[in-house]
Symmetry: C2
Subunit: 423 residues, 2 copies
Amino acid sequence: MSRSAGRAPSLSRRRFLGAAGAVGALGATAAVGTGTLLAPPAGAADAAGRGSAVVPFHGEHQAGIVTPVQDRLLFASFDVITDDRSELVDLLQAWTVASRRMTLGQPVGKVNDDQDLPPDDTGEAMGLGPQSLTVTFGFGTSLFTRPGDPFRIAAKKPDALFPMPLFARDEIQPDRSEGDLAVQSCANDPTVAFHAIRDLARIGRGVVALRWSQLGFGRTSLTDEEQVTPRNLMGFKDGTNNVVVEETHDLDRHVWVGPSDDPAWMRGGSYLVTRRIRMMLEIWDRSTLADQEQTIGRNKDEGAPLGGRLEHDLVDLQAKQSGDLVIPELAHIRLAAPQENGGARILRRGFSFTDGIDPVSNQLDAGLFFIAYQRDPRTGFLPVQENLARDALNEYIRHDSSGTFACPPGVTTDGFIGDTLFR
Amino acid sequence: MSRSAGRAPSLSRRRFLGAAGAVGALGATAAVGTGTLLAPPAGAADAAGRGSAVVPFHGEHQAGIVTPVQDRLLFASFDVITDDRSELVDLLQAWTVASRRMTLGQPVGKVNDDQDLPPDDTGEAMGLGPQSLTVTFGFGTSLFTRPGDPFRIAAKKPDALFPMPLFARDEIQPDRSEGDLAVQSCANDPTVAFHAIRDLARIGRGVVALRWSQLGFGRTSLTDEEQVTPRNLMGFKDGTNNVVVEETHDLDRHVWVGPSDDPAWMRGGSYLVTRRIRMMLEIWDRSTLADQEQTIGRNKDEGAPLGGRLEHDLVDLQAKQSGDLVIPELAHIRLAAPQENGGARILRRGFSFTDGIDPVSNQLDAGLFFIAYQRDPRTGFLPVQENLARDALNEYIRHDSSGTFACPPGVTTDGFIGDTLFR
């Protein structure tokens, strides 16, 4: 349906209808196993098997939130450059069709059918398979507060949606922060993750413009099943006490917008907070092992909380030795702990990044692209981050990008992304 | 051996000697299977098997040149910030020891042995395995032409080593080009590739400073054995007629500096040319399939040369249809073909990249980081690139970084990187 996107300034109604026509047939395929990772048969979890794994696009919730973290990320934020509501809605519908196809490993459209038109798919992901691709969408505050309310959604802005305030030591760069629309593309292959953003941007030409993007990488999983805590670029295991997918009760309490939460259109959705956290690696690398472990509150090798022996040992925040707290007062895991934050828990899904050399310091510009999903940032990221103002870790990190997005619920087989907001 | 690197301004003699003491034991391990990819047993080529694959560090040639292309790249160029020859030599020796250990999947040093010192390894790659890591080193022109010749190597500068001249349409940015030392880190895991550069930079503190770096990604191989031609970000298969590892005769003729070539210290080495080639993806995506295929000279789906049916069909540059050349006069594969370049062949080992958004165009800053190895750039990259001045592809690409480096031969188990130059 993006056949003529190359020449047309925006998506036409005709093209959207053409796209929607494909929903019936595809919907059936995509609906199989909704909500479950379609893993290859046991014993076939080899590299080829990983390539063919499909995460269903349709379901109660958007994929890419509680989906086991894939190896690669390309995150993109877009500005909407039209004031025409129907163009925006058409785009969301076209993005729905394209995303469903790509998550099945299919090209967005025909690649090789007509010599006289631009191909409907840019082609770089051909033959790579679905690679567990998920494409997750969110709406930024600025879409709701746009002057004149051209999209007629101002009254529907969730109270929970607002750009994070500046925290102590923040060095947020506005041009790589926030945005009207966010797309999180995750896959086990970097070309597949790239392809999704590139083709969505292409389809959106004239309606949206890329604002900023972030490439990320995680651990190359050994198998889909293995849930080993990955290490961040400080060399520490990161995510030990994350909410895990099996904890349905915690997901309902902390991650998903609940069935009686307002606004109604967000029920089943989640709020996304992104932070680009640069690590001052040279300074970190020059600090002693003791400094590093006291800063984090865990030992480096095993990832055990200080005073413990194994990674998953209970974090004892009260423990003292010779009168001193075993986990120091300003250690990161203390200040981030739910019991220090009114029970707040957030689902983290961060990726490492490295983006060349900082021209000022001549050091690698590298760190953690923090991604967190929560039921409400006011009881999730916000109080936790305020508490982290005293974090000993702050000496070694700088936050330079921030994003906050309302991610609507999942898409039904006859729906489109954001239809609860726009229908 | 980098125990006190955190506080000391440069590597001390003592630390180098400590490092060298480890060579005996490690050398034996690393020498097993020299020159061959230590692949996991047949049938075990799953993801875990890929993680454990070791590419031997030692051998006649440096690893990472004819090694089957890994999935991930971090390329770094360094400026040498000392004029002390012995500090530079010490660093090359320390880098040798560190690289050998990392390619075996071992940390550079102890991570957890002394609370009062910075860890000898930064730790982020712990548990990820060797991941076919290769670390390949090259010397830039500026190292030989440095005022005062502090390293006493000016007389040894190869005639074949010089920065590439500006070609038509080049938009080379000096601050992301060339450099005194180049390190190409390739692995099947991005954290492993990152870790190598990060720890080498850390070890080199006070002796070298990072100048520029480039992250790259390729196809996630399905198995080590499979040699499917990957697609570049234009959606075309790229590398169909590359020199392949099995062509020993062609490697000796086109890639390796020969046994009677001068200077003697480069025999068994190779010259590296890097080019950051940005693709104007928006313009490309808006051109018709016919335009794209005529520009490249191949069809997009199969990768067959125009007039052929299959990818590996012979490229017939003479074929005509209705009086017109089937492969157009300015098609990329015609102008790049050996028969149009005096038989010149180069070994390409490029990676795709995406580095955020170009602030001018609001497009993805993405393309191909071109890496080529050759026996002599004067009969390799240089004439080919001159011929490509007329390339139809130029409408869609911009070269914005260039690097040329002399990569010395492989390291013997009692040698160090560049010892043929510095000993």
